[in-house]
């Protein structure tokens, strides 16, 4: 043995020995408790970066520790290999997406292996290979059979640069595409959806079971699901038309002094009086040209126009004016709201701007109702604090609030008893839009027959292979929809000429079940053998970035629950413990763009770990570097990291050297 610490010599040697001895393989048959340690699998962008190294090292430390503690450990790795960047590479450089992807995988695997992570490489999965997407397609058909996949004409987010539809989650809070950064437009298209809303209540309630998850992530999911209880109340116009509104505060109905409709509301035309017709028309066309984000911005000056008509408040038969305003969206709720200016800030500002009446129906607790009551004139902002109801008929004196026995509950009861409305539960969560007008994804395995309608591709004909002879222009519709030879097939049921579905699946479909493939990765005849999956599941420790708090983690929970209900799984939740490591971010994070590993213009943000660097730093040093300098959940900022990188590197190498030298003196 050399007396000098020479990482290059020892690391290669031991990696070879460990591989020969099969130390990293996950044993199945032995009588030991199981431990499933999983890193979120990478997108094969071309190069590993420090974020990957940090992520996989954390999981590796846990896996090695658990093995020494006597567990049989499953610690696998794979590639989330479908997606836009490969197709963009094909358009820009003429390389077929499959070739680009596989080259990248080869390269990144060769960067990953020298790190000496104790990964069971025999279970590697690649989501773009037919033996994997075969089962993604099969799982889609499971959803279709369960009535959880459907097609509908829908207003979708259209990315004018990538020429594709984006999920709501892929549009940032400024209305821009998460990848191209382009301002998103709205278009109507026939799309495939998964009914995640059917599971909204379970996905919300079961968050309580996730005791090993960070509260922050659970809160983000809770907000995304966005459950609100309230009531649907029917207002009537003077002409007798119904104007249903949804409200989370039915207890303040007595304080409603006007109504606001979305400019797109179908009743606007009927409600508009001849004198108001001109201004209403002008306002409608102005609203149509604005984005939803602009229309609903909180700091925006309130605008609106009176239709000239009135509606009747069902609880006290008061005549209240009906307005239109752009901050009310047709796609949200019923497209109409009741306005309670005394107790809602936005309504308050609207009422002040247009000099509409304000009526107080909640008084601060402890104040006598008659002596020194809160008056509308005295209000400078809406009163949203605690209190008791006043001027509210039968509900006077009830404590305002959403708790048991409080005003919201009492109001719903009163509305139902008097036939004026019904209690409702609504969710912010929408159904999951899964179809993409793109080539590089798993084809949706259905055939559209003129006589039978939408027919699933029979199991025996799966997988529907992606054709390889395809041209990529980067313009217009998906390359698949131009491929007549592929599209035209006989209907599997009746044999008449039919057409294949040309949309492919959202890549989040592939990543929603990959953790179920590892326990039975090579199975050619099944997505997975339930015995094997039930043996290893749930994942005991999942490690990945906080940026997946909503999308991937919510979809995976949804998949798990659906597959459990189909009898394929026994677990309720896929991931027992979750560690969201801090993101390795560029200083330019300020521009609020995630570090997108696929973007050419963000490549400079990353420190690619090219093989020579791996050789120079050597993995132990690098592992200690990514572990020792900061607590795991903290964000690392590369601007400062860049400056201290050398120092840290030295420090970490120095630490190892010290241990080595200490031992040499024995």
């Amino acid at each position: 043995m050399e007396s000098r610490y020479n990482p290059a010599a020892i690391e290669e040697k031991w990696q070879q020995v460990w591989t020969e001895q099969g130390l990293d393989l996950a044993p199945e048959s032995i009588d030991k408790p199981k431990y499933y340690a999983l890193s979120m699998f990478p997108y094969p962008s071309g190069n590993l970066h420090m974020g990957h190294v940090r992520n996989y090292t954390i999981t590796d430390v846990i896996a090695r520790h658990k093995r020494m503690q006597g567990y049989r450990v499953l610690h696998p790795m794979g590639w989330d290999a479908f997606g836009l960047p490969a197709e963009n590479a094909a358009i820009e450089r003429g390389i077929p997406p499959a070739q680009w992807t596989h080259q990248n995988i080869e390269h990144m695997r060769s960067q990953l292996k020298p790190l000496g992570l104790s990964i069971d490489w025999s279970r590697e999965v690649v989501t773009c290979s037919p033996d994997y997407y075969h089962w993604t397609q099969w799982l889609f058909l499971q959803f279709l059979q369960a009535g959880l996949a459907y097609q509908k004409e829908a207003m979708v987010n259209w990315d004018p640069i990538d020429q594709t539809v984006l999920a709501n989650e892929q549009v940032d809070n400024q209305g821009k595409s998460w990848r191209s950064g382009a301002l998103v437009e709205r278009r109507l298209l026939r799309q495939w959806f998964l009914k995640i809303t059917d599971y909204a209540e379970q996905l919300l309630n079961d968050l309580d079971k996730l005791t090993g998850w960070p509260d922050r992530v659970k809160l983000m999911q809770e907000n995304w699901i966005g459950k609100s209880t309230g009531a649907q109340v029917i207002f009537k116009t003077m002409a007798g038309d119904h104007l249903p509104v949804f409200t989370t505060r039915p207890d303040t109905l007595w304080g409603a002094t006007f109504m606001v409709l979305s400019p797109e509301h179908p009743l606007v035309e009927k409600l508009t009086t001849p004198e108001q017709a001109e201004v209403i028309k002008a306002y409608q066309s102005a609203a149509a040209s604005q984005s939803e984000i602009d229309r609903t911005a909180e700091d925006k000056e309130k605008t609106g126009v009176w239709t000239g008509s009135y509606a009747v408040n069902p609880v006290n038969d008061e005549k209240i004016p009906v307005w239109i305003a752009d901050y009310v969206l047709m796609g949200y709720g019923t497209g109409a709201i009741m306005a309670v200016p005394a107790h809602d800030q936005r309504d308050f500002e609207f009422a002040k701007t247009f000099n509409l009446p304000i009526k107080v129906v909640v008084q601060p607790v402890g104040q006598s109702l008659d002596a020194a009551p809160l008056t509308a004139d005295a209000l400078t902002t809406a009163y949203v604090q605690e209190g008791v109801l006043v001027h509210s008929g039968a509900l006077d004196g009830v404590v305002a609030g959403k708790g048991a026995g409080q005003s919201v509950e009492a109001a719903v009861k009163w509305l139902e008893a008097n036939g004026k409305g019904t209690g409702t539960v609504t969710y912010r969560l929408r159904d999951w839009l899964i179809s993409r007008q793109r080539y590089w994804g798993s084809p949706i395995p259905v055939i559209h027959c003129p006589t039978c309608g939408t027919v699933p591709v029979p199991d025996a004909d799966l997988p529907v292979l992606l054709p390889e002879e395809v041209e990529f222009s980067g313009r217009g519709p998906s390359p698949l929809s131009k491929l007549e030879s592929w599209i035209n097939v006989p209907c599997p049921t009746c044999g008449t000429p039919a057409r294949r579905e040309t949309d492919t699946m959202d890549t989040f479909m592939c990543s929603s079940w990959y953790y179920l493939r590892y326990p039975d990765a090579g199975n050619p005849g099944q997505a997975f053998d339930p015995t094997k999956v039930n043996d290893w599941m749930p994942v005991d420790q999942y490690v990945g970035g906080i940026e997946h708090a909503i999308l991937h983690l919510l979809y995976s929970r949804f998949f798990t629950k659906v597959l459990r209900d189909r009898g394929l799984l026994k677990v309720d939740e896929p991931f027992s413990r979750l560690l969201t490591q801090g993101m390795v971010q560029a200083a330019t994070y300020k521009i609020r763009r995630r570090v997108s590993i696929s973007h050419l213009n963000t490549l400079m943000l990353l420190i690619p770990v090219i093989p020579t660097q791996v050789r120079n730093w050597k993995s132990s040093t690098k592992k200690c570097l990514s572990l020792s300098t900061m607590a795991l959940t903290r964000r690392m900022c590369w601007q400062s990291m860049g400056q201290i990188l050398r120092a840290c590197l030295f420090c970490s190498k120095h630490r190892l050297k010290k241990i080595w030298n200490g031992m040499m003196q024995m």
């Binding site: 020892i10 560690l579 592992k623 630490r655």
Partner: protein, 190 residues
């Protein structure tokens, strides 16, 4: 030495479970490594235990170097196939613990007091006043002060007997230098 070994086992194991404090685990390993370097008993079984523990605890963090050094100890099986170190909590018992002496808010020194007199790691800070009888000792456990004691109460807390108490008080009278403090404490506890 054994205490350092088992303190490291306890700390690293805790850091690898629960909250995953890998950064503090790595510094615990450094502490053990330093303790091994300073050890005088390099051919004892206790020292051997310390070295093997260090390598086993290091294995998840730096697998290659741990393996290389492990095999250099003469083992044929991989360090990664070893059972994780078992904590012997009796080895954690401390025989002496340091008392930090502060005079007028400034740390003047540390003296060792017998650990069996003390319920846990704690710091006593003395704020010197005019005479020993009025010295107020601020005793704290971790970050929160447990309370303020007059010298007599402090002696009770240390469970000193009457004789020791008297001796401490007698010695303390008129003492206003750190040396005097030190000698009176060591005298009393010896």
């Amino acid at each position: 030495m054994r205490r350092s070994t088992h303190t490291a086992i306890q700390a690293v194991t805790e850091d690898l479970e629960g909250e995953y404090q890998f950064n503090t685990a790595v510094s615990e390993l450094m502490k053990l490594s330093n303790a091994l370097g300073d050890a005088t008993c390099k051919d004892s079984p206790v020292y051997r235990e310390g070295v093997e523990t260090l390598l086993k605890l290091l294995a998840p963090f730096a697998p290659h170097i741990a393996e290389e050094l492990w095999q250099s100890l003469g083992y044929v099986d991989s360090v990664h196939q070893q059972a994780w170190c078992v904590l012997d909590s009796s080895a954690l018992v401390v025989d002496e613990i340091p008392l930090v002496i502060q005079v007028m808010g400034k740390t003047r020194g540390t003296i060792l007091v017998p650990a069996q007199l003390r319920p846990c790691h704690a710091r006593a800070a003395c704020l010197a006043r005019r005479s020993w009888h009025n010295v107020i000792l601020r005793v704290r456990r971790s970050k929160s002060y447990c309370g303020h004691w007059k010298i007599g109460e402090f002696c009770d807390w240390l469970r000193l007997d009457e004789t020791a108490k008297n001796r401490l008080s007698a010695h303390g009278t008129g003492i206003n230098s750190i040396n005097g403090l030190h000698s009176s404490f060591t005298d009393c506890f010896s």
